[in-house]
Symmetry: C2
Subunit: 369 residues, 2 copies
């Protein structure tokens, strides 16, 4: 068995989320908290009900403040080194739900410095991806009046002076332990976590406020903030609250996380319907049995079937999802049939996204802070 | 004997400059090079004749280009964490000579990020020193039309994007070896050398040129550029040329380097004539004998007498200096008498400086890039 590794620069092995909760020192989102969110927001997002967003830091404190009438702001982001895929989409659509339901500002960071420092790519390639990725973020439908893009290299003038305040309080020992770095890491990559910390308090610095920050993120990003939450507090800011998502599994199986390193095995936001169909049918790991006869008799395994698992992200109705799972487990639905349902749902999402993306470019200036 | 240590963050022991030349891989400024400078500049600065500026990197190449009609630019700077002292003055007055004689631009960096990251001082304290230090730099009489202040935190918008290109090519191993760092160093201090490298090519990036850069500096700053010269070349820029100064000795003796860590034992640019007199008389290490009688008989030791050594910086006439040294060696001049000469020269310099400093504030905007 591969030892589980989860940090921003490495996700390996089968992820045990209960162990992660313990290791990271984060809190499970329990029924009580879900009810509380429902009371405030008027509904609970399917990703919360389905434990896709499964854990948090200080979300209760943030809600306490919110219920007393205090505002908070959202912070999420994207490392621009390749095309946006459906895994990004899922985190951001949840962020959009938060923006809409809580009526809050969203600060969206493009970590172009990070990707340049970690990837074997040129500065120009990263800048191209930054622009491409912006189109996808805009296509998510965020409110341009309440959404502000921060691009690390473009906004270094306001970010670097704050980043050094963070950096002064973090030693290389800490970075080594948190990210698995060695002396062979480049000095930009070592510094970088300070830049990722800045948006947790920058809006407060710019507006002379002290609001909570809420960060919806993939749980692999937590180590950045595990380090910096204490630092941020020492600098006189509120510790950011975090809400953690599980990894959307790769098409090829339910371990690791979806990533753009192999575009064939991930669904890109720019994929056309035929490509989606081909990829799902070819690569989506099946929980079905070897023959149709056996499947009909013994049923499929919902837990390892990627199409079943991905439907959690795209089938909003709990009833419908339950029916699909039941039928699949009993063998009434074949793997190919579940895949067909997924393909249809995905293509609906992508069609809408691509329509909005086509007109996104002229909105870029409205979004850049 | 204390082992010799010379790097930007530590100068210890008696500095053996011949060994430094070998260890650092820099070149001695020889008579041939001095003659060449004299031919171009019309004169040789006393600091060159007196081997205060004693070594270089690629100065010959830079002069080759200059003689072919190519321009170069100067880059020097200051770490703003305390008052400016006569040691800074000496480097900058040589920089001013270079600017005047070669008619070139000077880029002057205030490394406020560095000082914040390395010193136990607040961000606000460093910002105050930055402003104070600017007044002294302006008082040096640099040409405002050809002198551009870069303040790392103020100009991070243009500097950080270039700094990450440098940082990507430097590992922590290299930093450890060059600066004596450990895993306990903060991650900002580890990144910092990349920021110090940027002005060696930033003017070329901004103006779409590829001119040589010449850096007059105290030899302790060389490790920054020893690391980054190769990196800069890999990024498509010319390796910066460097001209290295020996350390102006502390008042208390001819080992180590002058620094502001003890303002009593250093001459500040803001000291009044009485303070100068008091400090020199009280602290300047004497090369004289124990009694006047013995001194008259055996003579003093010019090499360890701080007043004699400092006069190299402030007595332009070689003849006069030689006479003072001869008389002191023979016992014709007492330590107190040499001190009196030094005090007079210093106070002349400081009077002029302070006059210009008093009206410097209204010029700041002209100098900031």
């Amino acid at each position: 068995m591969t030892e589980m590794t989860v940090n921003p620069y490495d996700v390996k092995g089968e992820v045990d989320y209960d162990r992660l909760i313990k290791n990271f020192g984060i809190k499970k989102i329990d029924e009580k908290l879900l009810k509380r969110i429902e009371k405030i927001a008027g509904e609970v997002h399917p990703y919360l009900r389905r434990k896709i967003f499964f854990a948090h830091r200080d979300l209760e404190k943030l809600l306490d403040a919110y219920e007393k009438g205090e505002k908070f702001f959202l912070y999420t982001g994207c490392g621009p080194s390749g095309p946006i895929h459906i895994g990004h989409y899922s985190i951001w659509s949840f962020a959009k739900w938060l923006q809409d339901k809580f009526n809050v500002e969203l600060w969206f960071q493009f970590t172009d410095d990070e990707k340049f420092l970690y990837k074997d790519m040129t500065y120009e390639e990263i800048q191209n991806w930054t622009k491409e990725n912006m189109l996808d973020v805009i296509a998510m439908g965020f409110d341009p009046k309440k959404t502000h893009f921060l691009v690390d290299t473009k906004h270094a003038g306001i970010m670097y002076p704050e980043a050094i305040k963070v950096a002064k309080k973090i030693t290389f020992s800490t970075i080594k332990a948190s990210f698995g770095f060695t002396d062979s890491n480049n000095i930009g990559s070592i510094f970088y976590t300070a830049m990722q910390t800045v948006p947790t308090f920058l809006p407060n610095v710019l507006n002379n406020k002290n609001e909570y920050c809420l960060i919806p993120l993939g749980v692999d990003q937590d180590p950045h903030f595990r380090i910096s939450r204490d630092v941020v507090e020492k600098l006189g800011h509120k510790k950011p609250a975090i809400i953690h998502a599980k990894f959307m599994s790769p098409l090829t199986g339910v371990t690791g996380k979806s990533s753009s390193t192999n575009n064939d095995k991930v669904i890109l936001m720019t994929d056309d319907p035929k490509t989606v169909k081909k990829k799902i049918n070819k690569y989506a790991f099946s929980g079905g049995k070897e023959t149709v006869e056996e499947h009909r008799k013994k049923g499929g395994n919902v837990l390892v079937d990627v199409a079943c698992q991905w439907l959690k992200y795209f089938e909003d109705s709990d009833d419908k999802l339950k029916k699909i799972y039941d039928k699949y487990s009993k063998g009434e639905l074949l793997s190919g049939e579940v895949k067909a349902i997924l393909i249809e749902e995905l293509n609906k999402v992508l069609k809408e996204h691509q329509k909005r993306r086509a007109t996104a470019e002229k909105q870029i200036d409205k979004f850049i802070f």
